[in-house]
């Protein structure tokens, strides 16, 4: 009997011990707040990094505070007490709300919030034991009145062997992560204007129609007046928020850090999302300094332009000009000078045009960089043809006119000053592919600057390109240093054809990257046609009138065949290629059609559908932070899930209908149809993290396990 007694007493003692640990542990409540300590795992492995969170469930009308509580209040504080060797990170604060009481504005949370921190489990913790997490949580909770409160929470997580399953932990963690501010998808800059700070959010203006509210929340107290209005002003694609400095204004040179909260839509359908902002005041740099930057950028561009002359694509064109110079310079100094000027003008005009196009595209909101024109396969093909044609001309397959100056190309071949002008244009066109690697810094700087600066840098680049020839044509003393004309000029000219062919080969390779293998056939076929046309033109040039005309006609026909073939040959495969690449390349999704969905459902295949629109901010952010992440793509691949994307950018009644079916009047809508014909679709939240998606689409056996 005594043995039994002892055992049962021991059991009771153990049970009591357990209950006590539970009771004082992960939950605690005050009159206003229920707090609980949760973790991203059910067990830990030595060396793991886990997330823990303190969830506050707050009774209606009361609130707790963000890291910057605003005009009054106090941020919640969590002190973690952990075993030796374990460390806790800072609180990761979810996107706050503005809470206004009369003239006082606070930043905080109502209803519920989970404050996350990263915990590092020590490497030397023994498997089989427990990892105790204790948190002393202090907060101020206010409605009208404020009550400082403090609770102790504790959690014990079993320690398992490395490699063992750690479970899924609390779903609150993922919900909280979805509420954290994310990196801003738009470039944000800061300027000073009179008494106000102006936060400029570039690109957000395009979506302004769908935006309800925009508020900036400064990380630090008093950086902006917490309660002040933040008037919004749209300038092109840029949204400008005017921020009134508060009682602790931004010190000169300091960065403004905070969270930009953008609310889309209104009422119950609205979605608020926070974006991290950390910007330096662009105006704090003294004016002289930015002028210096501009001057050095212009100098850099000028040098870059000079270097461009030596590029394999430019040098041949330039050498043609130089050869012409050698021939004519001695007897016609004035004409030579004017040719030099015309050539320079041609280059500058081309660069000016490029600059203006860039500015126009930038104003249109396009994200472009230097060499943007090469994003078009058609342009690449055209330049490849041009290089090839110039090469043929240099090789002597054909020549236009008889002067050496005329062999540049068809356009550059025009004699007289317009010929020189167009040689300049040609030099610019062929120079652009070589610009990117050398001029990246200066052009990159120019692209981020106002139009005037951009044009200044571009014109410097052009001037640099024109400079050697300009100098040569203006300085007879330099001309005297040039070698005497002779046979070597022809040899050099012919030799120069080969860099042109090489450039054409490179461009065809670029084209193949853009439009697939078939475009090579189109491009090479076009080149054969061009070569044939050139040859026909040349052999009939000095024949009788009729033969000459026939030759010209055929040449023109072949030429247009090459161009049109290129136009249609390169245009059409583009979409075909996209379709064939669907499985392998970065297009891991397929366009949504009701028929495609029905087909997949009839086969009982799992399907994930993303209804999105180009003007929907949260859609784009979700695609960036969740749907295009490797973890999600892998999960889709492993689960054999077909990812369909329904684009609602332009109103589509089919999509509108399916949105309505799920009680929505707009995007985003994320649906997951699990495997099996009869499976009901799961609606995912409007704000996604990779984990929310991967957990939603995880095979059911895994989901049941925990």
């Amino acid at each position: 009997m005594s043995v039994n007694r002892v055992i049962s007493a021991g059991m009771i003692f153990l049970l009591l011990g357990c209950f006590q640990a539970q009771a004082s542990s992960f939950e605690a409540a005050t009159g206003q707040v229920k707090a609980q300590l949760v973790a991203s795992v059910d067990a830990v492995r030595p060396g793991d990094e886990i997330l823990v969170g303190v969830q506050q469930r707050i009774i209606p009308h009361w609130h707790t505070y963000w890291k910057n509580p605003g005009d009054s209040g106090l941020a919640t504080r969590i002190d973690y007490e952990l075993p030796a060797g374990a460390t806790a990170g800072e609180i990761q604060w979810p996107t706050p709300e503005r809470i206004t009481t009369g003239p006082v504005t606070n930043y905080g949370y109502s209803n519920q919030v989970t404050l996350l921190s990263t915990l590092k489990v020590p490497d030397n913790i023994a498997a089989g034991g427990v990892f105790p997490v204790k948190a002393k949580v202090k907060w101020l909770v206010c409605e009208e009145e404020c009550i400082p409160q403090e609770v102790d929470l504790a959690l014990e997580l079993p320690v398992v062997l490395p490699g063992a399953d750690v479970g899924r932990g609390s779903p609150l963690i993922e919900t909280a992560r979805a509420g954290l501010p994310v990196a801003s998808p738009w470039p944000v800059s800061l300027a000073h204007r009179d008494n106000a700070l102006v936060l400029k959010i570039k690109g957000l203006g395009q979506q302004s129609a769908s935006i309800g509210n925009i508020w900036f929340f400064p990380d630090d107290w008093g950086r902006v007046a917490h309660g002040a209005d933040q008037p919004r002003h749209i300038e092109g694609d840029t949204v400008e928020l005017q921020l009134k400095p508060g009682d602790a204004p931004l010190p000169p040179g300091a960065k403004l850090a905070g969270v930009l909260v953008v609310t889309e839509g209104s009422g119950s359908g609205s979605v608020a999302r926070g974006y991290v902002v950390d910007v330096a005041d662009s105006d704090t740099a003294p004016k002289a300094e930015s002028e210096l930057v501009l001057a050095s950028a212009m100098l850099l561009a000028l040098l870059g332009g000079v270097i461009l002359n030596l590029m394999p694509c430019v040098f041949p064109v330039l050498s043609i000009k130089a050869l012409a110079l050698i021939k004519h310079a001695r007897h016609e100094p004035r004409q030579t000078r004017l040719h030099g000027l015309a050539y320079t003008l041609g280059i500058l005009a081309s660069f000016l045009l490029l600059g203006v196009i860039l500015i126009a595209l930038k104003a249109g909101g396009a994200e472009i960089g230097w060499g943007f024109q090469f994003q078009s396969p058609l342009f690449v093909l055209a330049v490849a043809y041009l290089m090839f044609t110039v090469g043929l001309s240099l090789s002597g397959v054909f020549s236009i006119g008889s002067s050496v100056a005329g062999v540049g190309s068809k356009l550059a071949g025009r004699s007289g000053y317009s010929g020189s002008f167009f040689t300049g244009v040609l030099a610019t066109v062929v120079a652009t592919p070589c610009t990117a690697p050398f001029m990246g810094a200066a052009v990159g700087f120019a692209l981020s600057q106002p139009p005037v600066v951009l044009l200044a840098v571009f014109l410097s680049l052009g001037l640099g390109l024109a400079l050697p020839y300009l100098l040569l044509s203006n300085w007879p003393s330099l001309q005297r240093r040039l070698p005497k004309p002779g046979v070597w000029m022809d040899r050099l000219k012919q030799g120069m054809a080969f860099p042109m062919y090489a450039a054409a080969v490179w461009l065809v390779w670029v084209l193949a990257q853009q439009s697939g293998i078939n475009s090579i056939v189109v491009a090479l076929g076009g080149m054969v046609a061009i070569a044939f046309a050139a040859w026909l033109y040349e052999i009939t040039k000095y024949s009788a009138k009729t033969a000459q005309r026939t030759g010209l006609g055929f040449s023109a026909l072949l030429l247009s065949a090459a161009l049109f073939g290129g136009y249609f040959g390169v245009q059409t495969p583009a979409s075909a290629v996209a379709a064939t690449n669907a499985e392998t390349a970065n297009t891991y999704w397929q366009p949504y059609t009701p028929a495609r969905l029905k087909e997949l459902r009839d086969q009982g295949k799992p399907v994930f559908i993303n209804f999105t629109a180009a003007w929907c901010i949260s859609c784009l952010v979700n695609e960036k932070v969740a749907l295009s992440q490797d973890a999600v793509i892998d999960a889709f691949k492993h689960g054999g899930i077909t990812y369909l994307k329904g684009d609602w950018t332009n109103r589509d009644p089919e999509i509108t209908r399916i949105l309505a079916e799920f009680g929505r009047s707009g995007v985003p809508l994320y649906l997951y149809y699990p495997a099996g014909n009869s499976a009901r679709p799961v609606i995912l939240p409007q704000i996604l993290t990779p984990e929310i998606v991967t957990q939603a689409v995880a095979p059911p056996d895994l989901a049941v396990k925990q």
Partner: protein
């Protein structure tokens, strides 16, 4: 296009002019402090303009606020009041709690509260409509303003550097008011003249 530009800049100009005007309305350190008059716990009317020639400290208070309690139950504010009195500084408690809201009291209660706490302000000023509070953009209790004999604002902000409701933090914190009083006594300007107040929200009517 040009006209559009122009009208935009004009509009922007107006907005900033307006922002500047409102910025001026708030008390700004080294600018004249807003003048006010209000009923006191003694039943008299106090006019700030009448206190010209004396240094004045304004203390926004609400006796039920845990942060106010922290600094009264610890004796922190009482000792600041004594320090101020020794320097001949006028200490005004201001209560902006609206009727029916936390901290709203009548004259008798106010006097009793102070005698119970051993507090010795020169006067307690009632601001049930929140007029004075909004004039000074007071948001917290406790919150302080110091005005020099010429009526210029010298200090605005909190009591100390550790925002908490925990009395144990008082000793560890940097007491801004005590430091300011010492600097005033030494004839120096106040080093930290604008600090972050912390505490309960002032219980305005709206």
């Amino acid at each position: 296009m040009l006209a559009n530009r122009f009208s935009q800049s004009v509009l922007a100009g107006f907005i900033f002019a307006f922002a500047a005007a409102t910025a001026q309305a708030e008390p700004v350190v080294n600018q004249p402090a807003p003048v006010f008059s209000g009923a006191t716990a003694d039943g008299t009317t106090l006019n700030l303009a009448d206190l010209k020639g004396k240094t004045v400290i304004l203390e926004w208070t609400n006796h039920e606020c845990p942060f106010v309690k922290k600094h009264y139950e610890s004796g922190n504010i009482q000792s600041l009041q004594k320090q101020a009195a020794e320097q001949g500084i006028v200490w005004l408690q201001v209560i902006s709690s609206a009727p029916g809201k936390q901290g709203h009291v009548d004259g008798e209660t106010a006097k009793k509260l102070n005698s119970d706490r051993g507090a010795t302000p020169s006067h307690t000023v009632f601001d049930p409509e929140g007029t004075i509070g909004k004039l000074y953009a007071a948001t917290n209790t406790p919150q302080f303003f110091i005005i020099n004999p010429e009526g210029v604002l010298l200090y605005k902000g909190g009591i100390d550097s550790i925002p908490s409701a925990d009395k144990a933090d008082i000793a560890k914190a940097e007491n801004y008011i005590s430091a300011a009083l010492k600097e005033l006594a030494a004839g120096k300007s106040i080093t930290k003249s604008s600090t972050k107040p912390y505490g309960c929200t002032v219980k305005y009517a709206s």
